[in-house]
């Protein structure tokens, strides 16, 4: 009996070849594939416009597709199974750009598609095109071997260091929407070069944050607030700050930050306090500064701290203005003091916009990189 089973098993395995019965429907030949790195999603009355970019990897030019369909899932399916020269493979998609109009209509469909589709990863980064359509960003990159995928790759890597705050992934967006009902996504905008005469852009610039509440875009935060947002969400690791210290332009490099939030009571009402301790290094000064002098360093630090305090306050007020805790304040407060926050868990969304808060920032200059007082 056992000897008969093996040929039967083999024969059964061969039935996997039948495309409507077994697994063979999942087979694709590698040479026909092109890997989609960036997807752009735009929505209008007629449905969804999906644009896709392969990036300029593999030594070739980027391949771009545009597919229009009723829903995102349908458009993606048509993208993969099309009659064009290549088959698009979305399993290596790294970025999804939502056009501003699509984001205002709702990001739920996109998140649902990413979560439901076996090929997509949850750590795919989400961007919102500020003031433009995603299609414009996907198709408008100009320059030798330019592609939006390569630009976004670079932006993603530099975001926490240079631009002050990180880039949200689909998983983070889903988590935040499930727990807080809102999330802050990275907004981007095309940056045309003055030398470039053709229509299009040569770089992608960060354009603040896109506030998503429920699943719709409410508005944007300014790019200048990105570092403050990064400090509050804990996603910033470095950053540059230009100060005017007594008429001297000074550049400070943020080398570390400890930002703690704790719940307090103010006038019998729940409130919270933000305590930020920042560490800087002096990166450059346009005129001689007696950095060796402790008072000068203290003054510089105080000036930086005052600026940051203002930015933090503004960022929190803006979030309260939107009525959305996209800064993760509730989560931070619960981590700091779970017992004290327990009564406010359920009512947080109504409490947060009206909550009082204080922000205290202290800074310290740690070093000046091999140069004491600058050479005159």
């Amino acid at each position: 009996m056992r000897r008969l089973l093996i040929p039967v098993l083999l024969a059964l395995a061969l039935t996997g070849c039948a495309s409507d019965f077994g697994v063979y429907a999942n087979v694709s030949e590698v040479e026909r594939l092109r890997l989609v790195r960036t997807l752009g999603v735009d929505a209008d009355e007629s449905g969804v416009l999906l644009s896709a970019d392969t990036g300029s990897g593999g030594g070739g030019r980027a391949v771009i597709w545009r597919i229009r369909a009723g829903t995102l899932a349908e458009a993606a399916r048509r993208l993969e199974k099309n009659a064009m020269k290549y088959d698009a493979n979305i399993s290596h998609t790294e970025h999804v750009i939502l056009g501003e109009a699509a984001a205002r209509a709702g990001i739920g469909e996109t998140l649902d598609y990413v979560a439901r589709t076996m090929q997509m990863r949850l750590d795919t980064c989400l961007f919102v095109a500020r003031g433009s359509r995603a299609e414009d960003l996907v198709t408008g990159a100009r320059g030798e071997d330019a592609s939006v995928s390569d630009m976004l790759q670079s932006l993603k890597k530099d975001a926490p260091v240079i631009y002050g705050c990180g880039v949200a992934t689909c998983l983070e967006a889903a988590e935040a929407l499930a727990s807080e009902g809102c999330v802050l996504l990275r907004a981007i905008a095309p940056e045309p070069s003055p030398e470039w005469s053709e229509e299009g852009y040569t770089a992608v610039a960060p354009a603040g944050g896109a506030v998503i509440s429920g699943d719709r875009l409410l508005g944007f935060t300014p790019e200048e607030e990105s570092e403050a947002v990064g400090l509050l969400t804990g996603s910033v690791s470095s950053g540059c700050r230009a100060l005017d210290y007594g008429g001297v332009p000074v550049t400070l490099l943020l080398t570390g930050a400890d930002v703690r939030l704790k719940p307090v009571t103010e006038g019998g009402q729940p409130a919270f306090a933000v305590d930020a301790r920042l560490r800087y290094s002096l990166q450059g000064a346009a005129a001689p500064l007696s950095v060796g002098d402790g008072a000068v360093r203290a003054g510089l630090a105080a000036a930086a701290a005052e600026e940051v305090r203002g930015e933090l306050t503004a960022a929190i007020r803006r979030a309260q203005g939107f009525g959305c805790d996209y800064l993760g304040i509730r989560r931070a407060l619960c981590a700091a003091s779970p017992g004290r926050m327990a009564p406010y868990r359920e009512a947080w969304r109504s409490l947060f916009p009206k909550m009082a808060f204080t922000v205290a920032v202290s800074a310290v200059i740690l070093r000046t990189y091999d140069l004491g007082d600058p050479i005159a």
């Binding site: 009996m1 098993l9 996997g16 409507d20 019965f21 990863r121 949850l122 499930a178 017992g339």
Partner: protein, 361 residues
């Protein structure tokens, strides 16, 4: 040079551990996250005492077993011929259905995570046939495979959990104070998984005696609970309780995001298909158990090979009972665990009490 076909105690424990990994991963993270949120990882700890109790109950029933005597024979001895045979028959019928659900669940897992657009029948048939081929062999070969698979799957799980550690955020695991009923509800899936352990001593040939069996079995139960704790903590820690509760296969979705030093990504295909080994082994064990149940009911060996008939019935049951994923989910998340838990509890308790009263156990 040869000895009677049966398992050593270690083989029984290893086989049980391997086969219970599949339902553990399927049931636990989602159910626990849904019941109790961020504190889902506490569920195995809460279930530790009742799980230990179940283990001790089963062990007490088997304590005075004779050489080569399986749990089926013990049930006959404890309950008497008539009721014992009725219980074995009931168990046999339940196991046909349960085997079908295992096959169907395994197929569905592959279809919804790796092989999009395929047909469940193909996976069920191949797994059933493979299990059928090995079910004609000796029980101790299955036991040895359990030992080898326990080591291999343990290493893979440890690696996966280690690689997923950087993605875990402690704030996702901070348990929120809530009603105790939520935590008890989260512990039930854990208990139902450990309760399935009562099936394995039904294998023919019995289990060899070993010193300190209770301590050894409690150690393995503890290991299983620890694995469940690790899986739940990793899943909820990486995805958050809200997201984990909303996904069908949160553990495999969490693995989807793991990257092995940037060289290999999306290792969920490897891990999910490794889980085919647990389904294959479980089905092979259940097919062998049918032999013993038949022999217990009919008081003789079956003259014709039962396995192909039963395997075919199981595949048919699985396909007919769960035509779509939604019915399957209801059956596999609610009905099957509840029935297994009740069977284990009631059968063990009643058999032990009646057996002690009749002085046959």
């Amino acid at each position: 040079m040869t000895r009677s076909d049966g398992l050593t105690f270690r083989q029984l424990m290893a086989l049980t551990f391997v086969c219970l990994l599949s339902p553990a991963i399927r049931l636990l993270p989602r159910a626990a996250a849904g019941s109790v949120g961020a504190g889902a990882w506490l569920a195995p700890l809460i279930a530790a005492v009742p799980a230990a109790g179940l283990t001790a109950l089963l062990r007490a029933l088997m304590k005075n077993r004779r050489e080569g005597e399986s749990l089926a024979r013990i049930l006959l001895r404890a309950l008497g011929r008539g009721p014992g045979k009725a219980v074995c028959l009931l168990l046999g019928l339940w196991l046909v259905f349960y085997t079908g659900i295992i096959l169907r669940t395994g197929a569905e897992r592959l279809l919804s995570t790796v092989y999009v657009g395929g047909s469940p029948g193909f996976f069920m048939a191949v797994t059933a046939l493979a299990a059928l081929a090995v079910s004609f062999g000796r029980v101790r070969s299955l036991g040895r495979m359990g030992e080898v698979s326990a080591l291999a799957l343990g290493i893979v799980l440890a690696l996966v959990l280690a690689l997923s550690a950087p993605d875990i955020r402690p704030e996702n695991l901070l348990p929120a104070p809530g009603p105790a009923s939520g935590f008890l509800a989260a512990a039930l899936p854990v208990l139902s998984v450990t309760a399935k352990g009562f099936l394995f001593p039904l294998l023919p040939g019995g289990v060899m005696r070993e010193r300190r069996e209770l301590a050894v079995s409690l150690r393995w139960t503890g290991l299983l609970l620890l694995v469940m704790l690790g899986i739940t903590a990793a899943t909820v820690g990486a995805l958050s309780a809200d997201v984990a509760a909303g996904l069908q296969h949160p553990f495999f979705i969490m693995i989807r995001n793991i990257s092995v030093f940037g060289v290999i990504e999306r290792i969920e295909a490897v891990v999910i298909t490794l889980w085919v080994v647990t389904d294959f082994l479980f089905v092979a064990v259940l097919l062998r158990i049918f032999d013993e149940l038949f022999a217990a009911v009919a008081e003789r060996e079956s003259p014709w090979p039962l396995h192909p008939i039963l395997a075919g019935c199981s595949v048919a049951c699985g396909l007919l009972a769960a035509r779509d994923a939604f019915t399957l989910e209801r059956l596999s998340q609610a009905v099957v665990p509840a029935v297994n838990l009740l069977l284990a509890l009631i059968l063990s308790t009643v058999a032990l009490i009646v057996g002690k009263l009749r002085r046959t156990v």
